[in-house]
Symmetry: C2
Subunit: 415 residues, 2 copies
């Protein structure tokens, strides 16, 4: 495994130089990489075909296989992502404030790159391009560890990215891919606190838990979204169906899709039938508690396990609650602290929900599907943090930086 250590060393040793690049230098390299990926799309597609063949041999199909496939149009989209990143403001170097303290020292805080970032992710090869682009723009050096399903695609992509860096006069080791796809190299990466400043796992709950429990490098958890919508008794009736159908069925495989609906008992009889019908018309399987099934007998039965499950599929579970307090307690117990929404016309309940639900994004009267860097206007995102330190919610460029205190003196000593 010595090569993993070597990769860490190489990343660390060029990190200071990457941090010093000007915005122009970084943008020029991003645009060059964008062009080069498009020009060499055939190479990428050939490598991707190998991955697809292998995946089919291993019985991968459906959505998982689809996420792996790269064609001309997807390559164009992910390449254009780099041009979009080039257009964003560079957060590095911004001075957040300078204050003069009583002895005359000017104390300021300046935004600087984090250093070396590791990203561990699963099948999707577009994360390779995004991770590179966001890291370069923020002056960080990145080590990528993609899934074994996409290894050939990732190797082809990273080769092209490194070529673009070289032609731009930037150390190629700004981006490195770990080519060993075994678990041992992932474990070794998690222990390299000597070289890495941050580790971001992107993928399923299993991957994220493993990284949190084993890493000695600081970790930002991303992604898991066991999201809820609470329909309060006072909810605007016309908004209920559009919002829950949008939150569940517009794209059920993503982390900000809703998984569970809580309905206030006082509105249950009035809306149960139409909620059920609306969801079924959108191919959503409905699992519900006793009280709901008393009204809609066709609904399947929800069991305890359902409340803990992030389906990422056309399935939803429904629970009746007696109050906004019970809804909040249920959410704080079962959610993964990603996104939750309340539908209400009650001022008190809207404020209570906003204050007391302990999640990264809390909505009033809207679909949960907006928790997303591009929707929030960040232009790009590296993931959605569901933890509380450093970054919470969608992480854009700013969240890939840190600060340092800069202090201008003229001979001050401490009394």
């Amino acid at each position: 495994m010595n090569d993993i250590k070597e990769i860490g060393k190489r990343a660390k040793s060029c990190s200071a130089e990457i941090a010093k690049l000007t915005t122009n230098e970084k943008n020029e390299a991003l645009l060059r990489a964008c062009k080069k990926l498009k020009a060499k799309s055939e190479e990428i597609i050939n490598a991707n075909n190998k991955d697809i063949e292998e995946a089919k041999k291993n019985g991968i199909s459906g959505a998982l296989l689809d996420r792996l496939i790269l064609d001309e149009s997807r390559i164009n989209d992910m390449s254009d992502g780099l041009a979009d990143i080039a257009k964003l403001d560079d957060p590095v170097g911004e001075v957040l404030s300078i204050k003069t303290i009583p002895n005359g020292l000017d104390v300021g805080q300046k935004r600087v790159p984090i250093g070396v970032i590791g990203i561990i992710y699963e099948a999707r090869p577009n994360v390779t391009v995004d991770g590179f682009g966001l890291s370069l723009k923020t002056g960080n050096t990145v080590i990528l560890k993609g899934g074994k399903e996409a290894i050939n695609s990732n190797i082809a992509i990273v080769d092209i990215l490194r070529e673009a860096l070289k032609e731009s006069g930037i150390p190629e080791d700004m981006v490195q891919l770990i080519k060993n796809t075994d678990r041992e190299s992932t474990t070794e990466l998690m222990k390299m606190d000597e070289y890495l400043d941050l580790l971001i796992p992107r993928g399923g709950q299993g991957l994220i838990k493993a990284v949190v429990h084993n890493s000695t490098v600081p970790v930002i958890e991303t992604g898991a979204g066991n999201c809820h919508i609470f329909i309060d008794a006072s909810a605007d009736r016309d908004r209920i169906l559009p919002i829950i159908i949008n939150a569940k069925a517009q794209r059920p495989g993503v982390c900000n899709a809703v998984e569970h609906i809580l309905i206030h008992k006082d509105i249950l009889e009035e809306i149960a039938e139409s909620v059920y019908k609306g969801l079924r018309e959108n191919d959503v399987e409905v699992r519900a508690d006793k009280r709901f099934r008393k009204i809609v007998a066709e609904a399947k039965e929800a069991v305890e396990e359902d409340w803990e499950t992030e389906y990422l599929d056309y399935i939803i579970s429904i629970k009746t609650v007696d109050s906004v307090e019970e809804a909040i307690d249920h959410i704080n117990k079962y959610s993964t602290k990603h996104s939750e929404s309340i539908l209400t016309e009650s001022y008190r309940n809207s404020q209570k929900f906003l204050d007391e639900v302990d999640s990264a994004a809390v909505y009033i009267n809207a679909s949960t599907r907006f928790t997303d860097g591009s929707q929030f206007g960040f232009g790009a995102e590296i993931g959605i943090s569901t933890q509380k330190l450093h970054a919470r919610g969608p992480m854009g460029l700013k969240e890939l930086t840190t600060t340092k205190y800069i202090i201008y003196g003229n001979g001050q000593i401490r009394e």
Copy 2:
């Protein structure tokens, strides 16, 4: 060890209630605790006497023993610290910004408590009071794990703090002390990611490393300060001695005291004698490299190990460098990324040092001794972060909070 888990559970279960306290409620409890500690100082001193006796039996003496001692005046000081915290602005509830995104959703970021914080610390019992006060003011629940040397003092203090909470109508479990002083309970605390949101180790390098390497709870590293001052060739001659003597000898046992001096070769001959003399007159032992010792033969010899050492004592080591670049490389290699200073009149070198030294606080023409929450105007501090995520440098109240996105809608669904 089941009681450690029980402590975690109890902290978590009152955490939502603590987060909801108003500023008035928190301040009232802080002032009550301040008064109560003073009124019961005899109880604290009696408990402290047991700790001191035990410490003496175990051969603890000097600075370590001194840090343990509580007398009337120290109890007054630490109690007044709570009244000072009551005076500070409450960061909780501040909305950092609200922006309307194109579809009409109002997306804001609100400052909220982190939740449950664990603090692991060594001998000083005043950390018990500070940790309680800063956590309460920020709406956090805290679990304290103090050193075994101060266990009787800590038990007495926490009993009084809990009494004050109870009288203020606040759940006493807002502050809990782990009374087992064995290593196993520390280890168990580090693994309680189910109940804890943040773990802050305060103490020596050994403690901090152990926590970073074993914790599954997010950690903020604090404290270790292997600090440097670089004397550039263009340094204002009159400032050199006052600054290095202040940075080393004003209080050598603290993390922002300087440990190593780098001298540009072009100024070495001119200043070596006076630097040596000035330091010796302040009882500082000087260990130096060959080039310095060629001029000042009485200086002791510095070895490789010296550059890595945080003496926390009246000892300093001196190295000659050929350029600002060599100084920066040396610092980035050996420092613990706490505080470093350059003495220079060169615009280029001041900017280069500020940009390229990768530490929490970088100074121009001042003593390193100012890296401190109260000096920077935060009013109080829980520690000085030497890592890059979430907080870097002195951590005040703001650093004990996180944010959440609050989103006000009127029926928005995603296209």
